[in-house]
Amino acid sequence: MSICKPLSRRDLAARIARDIPEGWYVNLGIGIPTLIADAIPAGREVILHSENGILGFGPAPAPEAVDPWLINAGKQHVTLNAGGSFFHHADSFAMIRGGHLDLCVLGAFEVAANGDLANWATSAEDSAPAVGGAMDLAVGTPRVWVATEHTTREGAPKLVERCTYPLTAPGVVTRIYTNLAVIDVRHGRFVVTEMIPGLSREALQAQTGVELQFEVPEYA
């Protein structure tokens, strides 16, 4: 293992935010993706979509300014930016399923080199998994980025040859941001395009369940 310092959840969110251009319509999943909202550079207009019928929501309100009728899909209180709008659930998922979002950023249990995403059920034997909007987002959005720790808490790889958990959708993930690296999914291969300073290719490979390709200098 390397001695370099993995990104914090907040730094990982900031790293992802840097790559979201102005004008994109973006849905952020629960967990690390949610943190991206606060990390978007000031003055850059990125429009956040929430499954429960909001386009253009803003940061959390001050406690005394909470509006009970205004929550996001994670059921956290939010605000509405100027230019935001409200709509119902069928219209909201028409946006998602119809391919109108530019990007969704989701968490993952596992991502496979073929782009398969598993992020909703921890076992095929779980007979009451909560799917929410994950499957609609995964199949409907042209760019599906995953934000995740590179491994599980136990150190098991989350980037794998084939998912063992039940799939959210097959072949949809286009890029993965982990606390160690940025990895594109291309033609059934994981291609590393960025690594945290001081991390060796071997160290990254050792924490990954499938062979990586590298398009970065040995030490970034």
């Binding site: 429960n52 059921k75 009451a128 998994p129 799917v131 499957m135 959708a169």
Partner: protein, 245 residues
């Protein structure tokens, strides 16, 4: 604007407001399929759900995004043994203790539907569309048993309209004709469920005069609404964050 027939006023008038919760829920029978609007606590018709517990109908099928939290509302209805089956997208969340107990004990049937498919199946019922195709669930466990079909080289599953006997929805402002507006993220499932049931019962945060709602802003026209009961929003405590989606 033309002169309203209503204001000429010699006849009776359309008035969908009922006296109380009991009147609003009268006639819901055992075995009914009941849609419950809201997403988390926002737009959830709490008073109607509590009323349904009092009302006594059994063997219900509930269609809702979540399977209840804590031991109030939907969870209490389930705990009281009134629910046979629940159709939802997100049964398991931080507070879904009652669901967990009943489901593990085999006392509750569950149909998991992705959130977008759930919303669209409900809209389809309201729009007279018996079935439609979506790519959502293709290649996953949730596609098992579903018919698939290829359009332009991509595979889709067939989904069926989801009808109900009764829809319980919460609206922000209503008039006696049944026109409804919603507030902010309160529109959610309410606006589609209002279209999809044989009888739609609205828990309204407040009545206004006919003509007071901007015709450009009415989200659910009165054609979809059968009964309205007023429960001022002051009586509604926002339960706050519940976790899960």
């Amino acid at each position: 604007m033309g002169k309203s027939h209503a204001e000429e006023g010699t006849g009776t008038m359309i008035n969908k407001e009922v006296r109380d919760i009991a009147d609003a829920l009268s006639g819901i029978g055992d075995g009914a399929v009941v849609m419950v609007g809201g997403f988390g606590s926002v737009g959830q018709p709490d008073a109607l759900i509590e009323g349904l517990i009092e009302q006594g109908a059994r063997d219900l099928t509930i269609i809702a995004n979540n399977a209840g939290a804590g031991r109030v509302g939907l969870a209490r209805l389930m705990e009281a043994g009134r629910v046979r089956k629940i159709i939802c997208s997100f049964p398991r969340s931080a507070g879904s203790v009652v669901f967990e107990e009943l489901f593990r004990a085999g006392k509750l049937e569950l149909e998991i539907v992705p959130q977008g498919t759930l919303a669209e199946r409900i809209r389809a019922a309201g729009a007279g569309i018996p079935g439609f195709y979506t790519a959502t669930t293709v290649g996953t466990l949730l596609a098992q048993g579903k018919e698939t079909r290829t359009f332009d080289g991509r595979t889709y599953v067939l989904e069926h309209a989801l009808h109900a006997d009764v829809a319980l929805v919460e609206a922000w402002r209503t008039d006696r004709m049944g026109n409804c507006t919603y507030r902010e993220s309160g529109r959610n499932f309410n606006a589609v469920m209002a279209m999809a049931a044989r009888m739609t019962v609205v828990q309204s945060c407040g009545m206004v005069a006919v003509g007071a709602l901007d015709p450009e802003m009415i989200v659910t026209p009165g054609i979809f609404v059968d009964r309205i009961v007023v429960v001022p929003e002051a009586a509604k405590v926002a339960a706050g964050a519940e976790g899960g989606a």
